[in-house]
Symmetry: C2
């Protein structure tokens, strides 16, 4: 009797492979055929898990976004909930995170013309602001202020990442962190 297939794990494995293909060659590089070859399975298995390319992109995005969440959580634990450490974990400070940002940009592009993907993107934006606001509340910040500050902090993270992805030399990981820390400090002081 064959072992039962863990469908969710299988789907996530394929989506993770698709992330790598997107980061290396963009959306155009991701075909069912290439993904099947990469996973050493038949294209019918790929089509079984993803009805169309947008569904494949949606799952790839979720895998990459979950990795950001995991990095954020790991930084939270390792730094005892340090704000800058947690936010830096979201930035493209290493080649691995930069690859995930390549997936995010691919997703953003498609989400600008696909209502289902746009809804997913809205969910993630709200979620990111929420986890940042939760972090600020742990420091004793009032909820309304934490929400406003979280909005500014996510704005900084997105703006830094957008520049850093194309200017690796002037936005090294270290410089992203220092820049973010300086702006976050200015912000928190202004609200105090």
């Amino acid at each position: 009797m064959p072992a039962p297939v863990d469908h969710d794990a299988r789907r996530r494995d394929l989506a993770a492979r698709a992330c790598t293909l997107i980061a290396r060659g963009g959306l155009e590089a991701v075909t069912y055929r290439r993904l099947a070859a990469d996973a050493e399975c038949s294209t019918s298995i790929v089509t079984h898990y993803f009805a169309d390319r947008h569904e494949l992109l949606l799952w790839s995005y979720r895998v990459a976004a979950d990795r950001s969440q995991e990095r954020f959580d790991a930084a939270f634990t390792a730094s005892d909930a340090d704000l800058i450490a947690c936010l830096t974990a979201l930035l493209p400070v290493s080649p691995e995170v930069a690859d995930d940002w390549r997936v995010y940009f691919a997703f953003w592009h498609t989400a600008t013309v696909d209502p289902v993907l746009a809804r997913e993107q809205r969910w993630w934006q709200r979620h990111c602001r929420q986890i940042i606001a939760d972090l600020l509340r742990r420091r004793g910040t009032d909820a309304p202020v934490a929400r406003r500050q979280a909005r500014v902090l996510l704005t900084l993270v997105l703006g830094i990442a957008a520049q850093a992805l194309f200017e690796e030399r002037s936005w090294t990981g270290q410089r992203q962190r220092v820049f973010l820390a300086a702006q976050a400090e200015t912000l928190l002081r202004a609200f105090a």
Copy 2:
């Protein structure tokens, strides 16, 4: 004798049409055939102006980016060089500008995997920081401070646009402007 063809104008007209197709249906929607049909010309004319799809995307980006520059310049003149007015002109505060941001996201995505497009993107990022720094210097800010402030201001513009494009209701044009003005004020005060 036929009138001489203005090749640059022709290329820009085709690229502007490609921008509209990208904003409506994403990169996948832009085929030489569809563009030729839209421009009521033959596909051989399209291929004459754009050797491949990346070149078409590059020119589309330039057309959309030039429109941002024109909006910035118009705001500069109309507002007597008001910082917030000029920066707001870069934000997706209207459907037309939002469409240009859809083109930017399409370009960013492809630029993450194409060195030629990445170089163009770097140029525009530096250019944007430069025109913002020039604006700050007009207000009497020292050059090194203006450069640092321009970096933060562009970060805010990019971060706001990334969220606003997917959350039209919570990031109306008015809210983008107010948010940007508040953050810019905090920043400029902190540097003072």
